[in-house]
Amino acid sequence: MRINPNPLPDLLSALSKTEQQINSDLQQTASGQSVNVPSDNPANAAMLVRNAGQTAEADQFLRSISSITGEMQTADSALNSVVSVLQRAISLGVEGGNSTVNAGDRAALASEVQGIQSQLISLANLSYQGNFVFAGTATQTAPYLLDSTSASGVQYVGNSGVNQVTVGDHLTVAANLPGSQLFSAPGSDVFQAVQDLITSLQSGSNIDTAISEVSSAYQHINTQRVFYGNVINQLNTQQTFLNSDTTQLAQQQNTLGGADLSKVLSDLVNAQTARQATLEAVGQTQQTNLFNYIK
């Protein structure tokens, strides 16, 4: 059978194939990725897109968590101070209720409670990174204003809005407690109780009633404080989960699109050897023919 006397085109096409293989191996080695363009592995490329989406989402959840955790911790420690200030108010009240205390002493006690009142206003107007923490969602203005026409001595100008923040798939947490629920809750109004204590110390009557009012406000704040502790715990747990989730996603990303370097390098060596062999074959073709022997 007569064979094709000119094998060069075949050899050239073989050369271009090994060259393609070398290029693809080099690209994989350089990028560390086996999926550099979607056509390298369409199914994995599509999964990598979803993986990138999930990773970005998890990163955002983590940022949200660290942003609200800071605010929550600040709010929690402010409420801690509120609780101890109210304890002090109760003991001042008890002192004032003692029958041996005269009007002058009570006036001194009343003015100390007034100091406590301003301290409470300042705590309730706590701001974190420029936002008032206890103002509901009206965070741009201080929620509590001094108001002598109001029975409680203050006016609440915040709202009752609560922000829900998503920190995981189908997991949202409330990110704040509005002042209307904390300090100005009907029946346990902190400012009303403190104002009543001041008035009763000044007049010397109804001190016991005022003390029990402050006590119930104290109980109320203590109960509400649990909210912050709970959410902070929940956020910590979620943060731990998300951190391991991100690691998981990174591993998955590597499985889907990472280059198997040992395999790529051995492929590369094979392709280079094949290329060398082909080149030598090209060099060898038809170096001699019958003409060389005709004299």
Binding site: P5, P9, D40, N41, P42, T137, Q164
Partner: protein
């Protein structure tokens, strides 16, 4: 002196070769001439006559191919030209349409949430779209996707009008898991596009590989018949040289004989 037609036939075959890598052509040989048509029957050469193809841009600026005033673009389905036309007129537009659907779906969904909320200044955002509204036909939506506002304070993050509210921002986030684009979430839809493109390219590369192997095989077969082997030619040359030498010997023998005969007469 008349030249051999062989050279011209070779030249013609080579030209047909070149042409058929561009478009699929059929060759119908008759006695001394041939007729060349595209595979769908548009005449290119008939006997002594050739028919030139021309191009004209359509309204969108794409060139169309005309033969004798007739648009034959859609009938060219193979060859390099057929491949490029298919990519230009079918595959790329289909991917563009998917991107447009994604862009339009996303822009409309975000705008719907945006316009139901309040900006940082507490103003209702009814009239402040976040994205320039995409065309209703969605054609060109991806290319023209742009943010309509320049002031970040106009983003409607608030759902109750107060500056600290995040209700509407949460609702926008919620879109990421909603089936807002052809019944799929944006990420799922986009990963579908990525898969389609990757799959189309991978399939095409595989088909190209297969075709080039077939081509190589056919070239090998053709060359095994028509290729020039130097050994063969050398052998033939030696054969002809020897025949020539042998003929010369015969002539020289005849010559010697003739000489002898002539000398016999004169002597």
């Amino acid at each position: 002196m008349g030249q051999s037609a062989g050279t011209f036939i070779d030249q013609r075959t080579q030209l047909i070769d070149q042409l058929s890598s561009l478009v699929d052509v059929s060759v119908i040989p008759s006695d001394n001439t041939l007729t060349l048509t595209t595979s769908s029957g548009t005449a290119l050469v008939a006997g002594q006559q050739s028919f030139q193809l021309s191009t004209q841009p359509d309204t969108s600026g794409s060139q169309h191919i005309f033969a004798e005033g007739r648009d034959i673009t859609s009938t060219i389905v193979s060859g390099q030209l057929g491949g490029e036309l298919q990519a230009r007129d079918q595959q790329i537009p289909s991917i563009q349409a998917q991107l447009d659907t994604l862009a339009a779906g996303l822009a409309n969904a975000v705008n719907a949430v945006q316009t139901s909320g309040y900006d940082l200044n507490g103003n209702s955002s009814t009239k402040n779209n976040l994205f320039t509204p995409p065309p209703a036909s969605t054609t060109g939506a991806a290319a023209s996707l742009s943010v309509a506002i320049t002031d970040p304070a106009l983003i409607a993050a608030s759902s109750d009008g107060s500056a600290g509210s995040n209700g509407n921002a949460e609702a926008m986030y919620g879109l990421s898991n909603q089936a807002i684009i052809s019944g799929q979430s944006p990420t799922t839809f986009y990963s579908g596009i990525v898969f389609n493109i990757g799959n189309a390219v991978a399939n095409t590369s595989a088909a190209q590989n297969a075709s080039s192997l077939v081509l190589q095989q056919l070239n090998d077969q053709r060359s095994s018949i028509s290729g020039v082997s130097l050994d063969e030619e050398a052998a033939n040359m030696m054969r002809y040289q020897q025949a020539y030498a042998a003929s010369a010997e015969v002539i020289s023998s005849i010559n010697t004989m003739m000489e002898a005969v002539i000398n016999m007469k004169t002597s």
